[in-house]
Amino acid sequence: MKKIFINLKRDTNKWSILLLTIVLFIGIPIIIIFLNLIYGPGETWGHLVKNLLSDYLINSFFLIMGTSFFTLLFGVLSAWIVVRYQIPFRKQMQWLLILPLAIPSYITAYSYAGIFDYGGYFEKIFNLKIDIMNHFGLIMVLSFSLYPYVYVTTRAFFLNQSKNIIEASKLLGAGEIKTFLKLILPLARPAFIGGLILVLMEVLNDYGAAKYFGINTFTTGIFRAWFSLEELETAIYLAALLVLIIFIIILLEKRQRSRIGYFNTVKNHQQIKRIQISKIKQIIMLLFVLIPVLFGFAFPLFQLIFWAFLTFKEVLTLDFLHIAFQSLGISIFSAIITVLFALFLIYLSKWNRLKYIKYIAKIGILGYAIPGAVIALGVLIPTLFIDKNIILFFNNFLDTKIGFVINGTVLVLVYAYMIRYLAVAYSPIEASSLKLGKSLAETSNLLGKGNLYTFKKIEFPLLKPAILSALILVFVDVMKELPLTLILKPYNINTLAVKAYEYASDEMIAEAALPSLFIIFTGILPILLLNKVISKN
């Protein structure tokens, strides 16, 4: 005990204090949600366990297994194909494969329901009606809209691999397939698992698609407990359990990874050489990478364009353009703030020497696993507390009546986005900063330069691509965000996602197509930019 205190005294520096402040700032809403665990669930918990929980668990389990399989299949294999083989349209396929990321998964779900609907395209073309609104349909919809997370991280990894190991493997007599299975795949594990964790969080967090398809998952349960059974404490209890499960998955993965310790230490930037293959193989591979692009992007997009064509006269107004503009502004602003905080967390953790705080700092990235509506609640509680006290102060001491100072402003909304999407900015920057290693910074420190100077002059320029990726990913996510925005958005401010939701929840799905298309197109440009950044490095 005494030793701990000595360490505490010795290792505390200004960075520790700053870090702790920032972690608290980010963590309070999350901590508040966890604190509710102490109170336990409400009285309907028994009912939930008896009648519903097994259904939720089984459904969530199937979804996780199914989407893991298909996102890895499409994500990893397409990444390998476009990096390794000279196939037709290789350049175009590289970026086309990322595009499904621009379509919110609930919109993809709605469009597929439309395609296979009564009178939908599928029925018109094949004269056959099949039902896709089931487990398998949901798994496919989610996989096709989420595999880019795996694709992007894995491809970035392959591009950074040196060609030496592959050549060594070839020299030792291993064939192309054996090299891939025995060498490349294990090496790429940290990369695709990183992407997969993002996929799983999205899957567990999905509400719109699962609800529409009539499949009850953990998140459906959270809302049922909160709204239908009127027990907030049970809802928060479920949410906290969900976060706990995700946290355990992340920890297990981290542990195993560090035990195996596959890291490429060779600082050799000779990229993997592309190889020529026969025409037939080329065609087969091209067809394979076309599958996710067609199903994840092209088909839903066609359906949306068709709907937008039917309804644009009603939907496209001056007000609509105004909303589009507001949406863009808020998303850009939130992306910048989120990336700033990700940088704070990563670098302050590095500079501070207290181990415990480093672990505590991980709380900051849990927000991604918590449903947006629950985050909104976690944000409302402390901000309202502050607001009410400010109002009381003004009332009692200054004798003036004022309204809420911080609630109902853009700032609270951006704060909530930051908490929700910090993990999205954190992962690419952290990965990149790990790759830089310690030696650069240590050399600079030895030369008598401070941490801030080192960061500004050496690390920041090297991290630029990662920072840009982080900005783009957060931007696209905020553009798509819905439940949190609904609760926290100020008056007279609207986002495209909210507009799309308003139509969809009124069963006017065709009318929702135009705002959805706007979200998609504003997402495509930055995603193309992201592709450039990854390719350049």
């Binding site: 009648n51 009539g214 059974l229 808020i330 910048i336 309202l384 853009v410 065709a510």
Partner: protein
């Protein structure tokens, strides 16, 4: 790059500040509306209200549950003046949570029938929707249908289409059955319906109608105004679906067809109470009610208003006059019965 970033940040800050100013500046004439309704008809009416009275309407749009949560967290400082929900159960819940206050209005007293408003004037219904049976006329004759209860008969096995129990309209329907027939009968009813479902519940009300036309089942339970929306859809396939079914009003020989309402109440801590009452009166006025009926295919609560042609074409019907308060009181019981009967 840096320059662009700076410009962007500036730009965004300007937008952000602009919107905040609007709020902080204490407008003398405004009404803050928390609403679950997000229809075109509403937006038209809000604009009309602003034009006529000069009172600015500030709108927060979200699900009723989330709005209520927000109001209760905001407490006495809540800026909300009016809460609008799309079902009676939520209004009752809002009253029980102490989120609303009594509003006295001669006009509202006179206009809105007593079963369609709160006994203490905490809320008032604005529009009505009937939850009806629709059927495929090629497979089912109207004579075969009678009541919600009769749908549990074995002859409807694999023939009934209805959406998930997550949906508030289903919850209210079951709440009305609990109020009319008791919990035990209600539980038997849900089990009977689940046994007769053509498929596991999925999609929305429109999807149930389409499934009837596609032949997945013979009958569906849906809200009337979705049929109006289908018939007036921009998508020709939806119009065909709307035309492919016929409407049947159940329980005409006993209590009447279940109706649900959307309605409004004055918030407990409304900073602009007078404006709030004026606003609700405006929505209940003949002119507004006609717009609800015409643009949104809802039934009017104002007796003076003549139904639209479409609503007339479905015919007159007897409504269940059960006090809407009962729907709110029985909502939680309904959800638990649904779960116990494995109605997804």
């Amino acid at each position: 790059m840096k320059k662009y970033l700076l410009v962007l940040i500036l730009l965004v800050s300007v937008i952000a500040c602009k919107s905040e100013k609007k709020e902080i500046k204490a407008k003398s004439k405004e009404v803050n509306v928390y609403t679950h309704r997000h229809y075109k008809a509403d937006q038209e009416l809000f604009a009309q209200f602003e034009k006529e009275t000069g009172i600015t309407v500030n709108v927060v749009n979200a699900k009723a549950d989330e709005l209520m949560q927000k109001m209760s967290l905001e407490g006495a400082q809540s800026p909300a003046d009016v809460l609008i929900t799309v079902d009676a159960g939520r209004l009752v819940r809002a009253k029980n949570k102490g989120l609303l206050q009594s509003a006295s209005s001669v006009f509202l007293d006179k206009t809105i029938p007593s079963n369609l408003k709160d006994a203490d004037n905490h809320w008032f219904a604005l529009t009505k929707r009937a939850r009806v049976i629709v059927y495929n006329p090629e497979k089912v004759k109207a004579e075969e249908l009678s009541s919600y209860e009769a749908l549990t008969d074995k002859k409807w096995k694999n023939k009934i289409l209805i959406r998930s129990s997550d949906n508030i309209y289903n919850q209210s329907l079951l709440a009305s059955i609990i109020a009319n027939n008791g919990e035990e009968k209600a539980s038997e009813w849900t089990k009977g319906i689940v046994a007769n479902m053509a498929r596991s519940p999925k999609g929305n009300d429109r999807d149930q109608v389409k499934a009837v036309v596609a032949g997945e089942g013979d009958i569906a339970i849906v809200n009337t105004y979705y049929i109006g929306k289908l018939l007036n859809s921009k998508n020709p396939d939806e119009v065909i679906a709307g035309k492919g079914i016929k409407v049947f009003f159940p329980n005409q020989n006993d209590r009447g067809t279940h109706i649900n309402v959307s309605g409004a109440g004055v918030a407990k801590y409304a900073p602009n109470k007078q404006h709030a009452i004026k606003f609700i009166e405006f929505l209940a006025s003949k002119k507004s009610q006609e717009i609800f009926a015409k643009v949104n295919y809802e039934y009017s609560v104002n007796k003076e208003v003549v139904s639209s042609e479409l609503l007339k074409s479905w015919g007159e019907f007897k409504e269940d006059t059960l006090s809407l308060t009962k729907l709110g009181e029985n909502n939680k019981k309904a959800v638990i019965i649904f779960d116990e009967s494995s109605w997804k």
